[in-house]
């Protein structure tokens, strides 16, 4: 499964430019599901037909990134954020554009307080010596993402974009495993989650499911000096109770716990104080859709190197395989 995660995590796909990720997933699932379709928002919807309940399992394809807003005379790029970018941790990071152009993020060194530096005072250096040279490689409006290898070490994975390619990988693996059920399963790979849970909204409207789950990353509380949270890496995938965007529907939450208990799969209860998931926009679609979530505890979310535990990932696949039979 590591290879699958690596393939997906290394594919370029900031919010609004998820096509390459969608194409990769289409290649992996073609012939393995009954139908694959796309909507105007770019959501990729893979259907395993059935006669029972319609269940959405959603993972977002987009990753955070930057967008070029201006190119100056000397060829330096000014930029804004696509999704939540903590300014401090991006200094010195490499970013890569869709065409492979690599740049380094730095800041105007004459400012006093580096910690509170705003993105407006930062720039990207792509090694161009003039505007004309830069414009051959990059245009205003182009997006770039972090550079960050995908590696496995001590049973843990370190990579860029695990938020939420790890969710995509789990769903692809699940679809390939094809759990036996009468329910109709919609593996939905959504767009533009990082900028406001946008794609999931139209995907859910087009499906009108009986139930939905968002498969995403969540914070943890087992790092030196971090905010307290009853979630640790390696202790199992989480069953979402709430995050900033949704309170999980009791029936969905209970079905997940029942599935985990039945198959003796370790799980943790997730109360996430910051951040939302696609469940947040799905559950208030149309007349309301019972929704919840399964998350992978993740360190350094939105950094160029995020970390998850492989056991949590594998257990998430097992948990979902049992859940979809509900």
């Amino acid at each position: 499964m590591f290879d699958l995660i690596k393939t997906l995590a290394q594919t370029f796909g900031p919010s609004g430019c998820e096509k390459k990720v969608a194409d990769t997933i289409t290649g992996l699932l073609k012939g393995k599901v009954d139908e694959i379709r796309t909507d105007a928002m770019g959501n990729l919807i893979c259907v395993k037909k059935g006669t029972g309940k319609k269940i959405i399992l959603a993972a977002h394809m987009d990753e955070i990134g930057i967008i070029v807003s201006y190119i100056d005379d000397k060829g330096f790029l000014r930029f804004s954020n696509v999704g939540g970018l903590p300014p401090l941790i991006i200094l010195g990071q490499r970013v890569v554009f869709e065409n492979g152009t690599v740049g380094v993020i730095w800041y105007e060194e004459n400012i006093d307080n580096v910690k509170n530096t705003k993105l407006e005072k930062m720039f990207i250096d792509i090694g161009a010596k003039s505007r004309a040279e830069a414009e051959k490689l990059v245009k205003v409006g182009d997006m770039a993402v972090f550079v960050g290898d995908t590696i496995e070490q001590n049973g843990r994975i370190i990579s860029k974009a695990l938020d939420d390619r790890i969710g995509c990988a789990i769903l692809v693996q699940l679809a390939l495993n094809a759990p036996k059920t009468d329910n109709e399963i919609y593996y939905v790979f959504t767009t533009q989650e990082e900028v406001g849970l946008r794609g999931a909204k139209t995907a859910a409207f087009g499906i009108m499911p009986d139930m939905a789950l968002a498969i995403d990353v969540c914070d943890m509380g087992d790092m030196p000096g971090c905010k307290p949270m009853a979630v640790s890496l390696g202790e199992g995938p989480t069953v979402k109770i709430k995050d900033r965007s949704v309170i999980a529907h009791p029936e969905v939450k209970d079905a997940l716990i029942k599935a985990a208990t039945k198959k003796k799969i370790p799980y943790q209860l997730e109360v996430m104080l910051e951040g939302g998931t696609d469940a947040g926009s799905i559950h208030i679609t149309a007349g309301g859709i019972p929704s919840g979530g399964v998350s992978i505890p993740t360190r350094f979310i939105h950094d160029a190197a995020e970390m998850v535990d492989m056991k949590d990932v594998e257990n998430a696949v097992k948990l979902l395989a049992e859940f979809v039979k509900a």
């Binding site: 909507d39 967008i67 100056d72 804004s80 409006g141 946008r198 139209t202 409207f205």
Partner: protein, 369 residues
């Protein structure tokens, strides 16, 4: 009436969010002669229908919001001065000393401020407290004020349009009467696709009208016509200028509310290049437009935003270059004419299709006109 004359007339009308009727009545009185059908929905959106010449079944929504930012009377003091709240994003500093109209009767007033002679030295620096500002309508006490205005009355800025300088126009509410005037002009044409011209309400208070308008239209694609921020004055560094006056309509790649459809933005940019129409990209990602609401409607909509750069928007008077307005109309028209034959349109057919609608008689619904 010429588009520019329409625009000027529109900027003299008052339509603060929630009270767009004067603007809507004016628009309707003009377009009803050349659209095929129209309706006014429960929120107050005016949705006009122009049947297409083709039979692809694809629907395009053109959106322009009618509302402007303004104020509302919240209390009448015993001395006859009016307390107020802002509606939409207005900063206190731009209100000081400005002329306003209050209520449906347009009672003249001024937002007064203590003259410099009477200010303590500490009052001369720092920001203005919105809560301390009042509107003076010249009434001697509450009783006299209540004869003319009441709590809940809308207040708008009282500035007439003026042509000036190098092909410039200054006026109130250019955001978004430029979009309204452009849309009125575009509806005169007939295109291959069914066109739904939506003059929407309550954009400035949270993109509200567009939500119900797009739900009724269920478009495949949408083009949002706007007036956007512009601050191309010398004390801004180049990278901080969101748009530039006189450099053509601005296309949005991304803002706080939306990432525009890349296919559609590319198509619009290449159409502009082909026909030698100037255009620019909006350089900052601040602000939001109805595109954010319309894009996530139904099964999803391919959206793009085209805007006239307007200096000093959300203040009593804003400034635009007339060429940008004319170029926006020209570009939007070319896009409407050529879009159906484009690759972007072909790809539209392969997507999840929005549900059928029966908004107008032509589609099996009621007759409104």
């Amino acid at each position: 009436m010429e588009a520019l004359e329409l625009l000027k007339k529109l900027t003299t009308l008052d339509g603060v969010s929630g009270e767009e009727k004067p603007v809507r009545d004016f628009i309707l009185s003009h377009i009803k002669d050349y659209v095929d059908d129209y309706k006014i929905d429960n929120m107050g959106n005016l949705i006009a229908f122009k049947k297409g010449t083709g039979n692809s079944g694809l629907r395009i929504m053109l959106d322009a919001h009618m509302d402007e930012v303004g104020l509302m009377v919240t209390h009448i003091n015993s001395d006859g001065l009016l307390k107020f709240q802002t509606i939409g994003g207005i900063e206190a500093r731009v209100l000081v000393g400005k002329r306003v109209r209050v209520g449906e009767k347009g009672i003249p007033g001024v937002i007064g401020f203590k003259p410099i002679h009477l200010q303590e030295s500490s009052e001369r620096n720092g920001s203005v407290n919105k809560k301390k500002l009042t509107i003076d309508i010249g009434a001697k006490d509450r009783e006299q004020a209540e004869e003319k205005v009441s709590v809940g009355d809308y207040v708008t800025f009282a500035y007439d349009p003026v042509d000036f300088g190098d092909n410039k126009l200054m006026a109130k509410a250019l955001d978004n009467r430029v979009g309204c005037a452009a849309l009125m002009e575009l509806l005169k044409g007939r295109y291959e696709w069914d066109v739904y011209g939506c003059f929407t309400v309550q954009e400035e208070v949270g993109l509200k009208g567009a939500k119900t308008a797009s739900y009724q239209v269920m478009p495949h694609m949408a083009l949002i016509l706007e007036g956007t921020t512009c601050y191309d004055v010398p004390d801004t560094q180049e990278q901080g200028m969101s748009t530039r006056c006189g450099k053509g309509p601005a296309l949005t790649v991304m803002d706080r509310s939306v990432i525009a459809d890349r296919d559609l933005v590319r198509f619009i940019a290449s159409t502009a290049e082909q026909h030698n129409i100037p255009y620019q990209y909006k350089q900052t990602i601040s602000g939001g437009t109805n595109a954010g609401r319309i894009q996530v409607n139904g099964t999803g909509v391919k959206v793009a935003v085209m805007a006239v750069p307007c200096r000093y928007i959300h203040t009593p008077v804003s400034v635009m270059d007339k060429s940008d307005f004319n170029h926006m109309i020209a570009l939007a028209r070319k896009v409407l004419e050529t879009l159906p034959k484009s690759d972007a349109a072909k790809r539209c057919d392969q997507l999840v299709q929005p549900p059928a609608i029966s908004l107008f008689a032509d589609k099996g619904g009621k007759t409104y006109v």
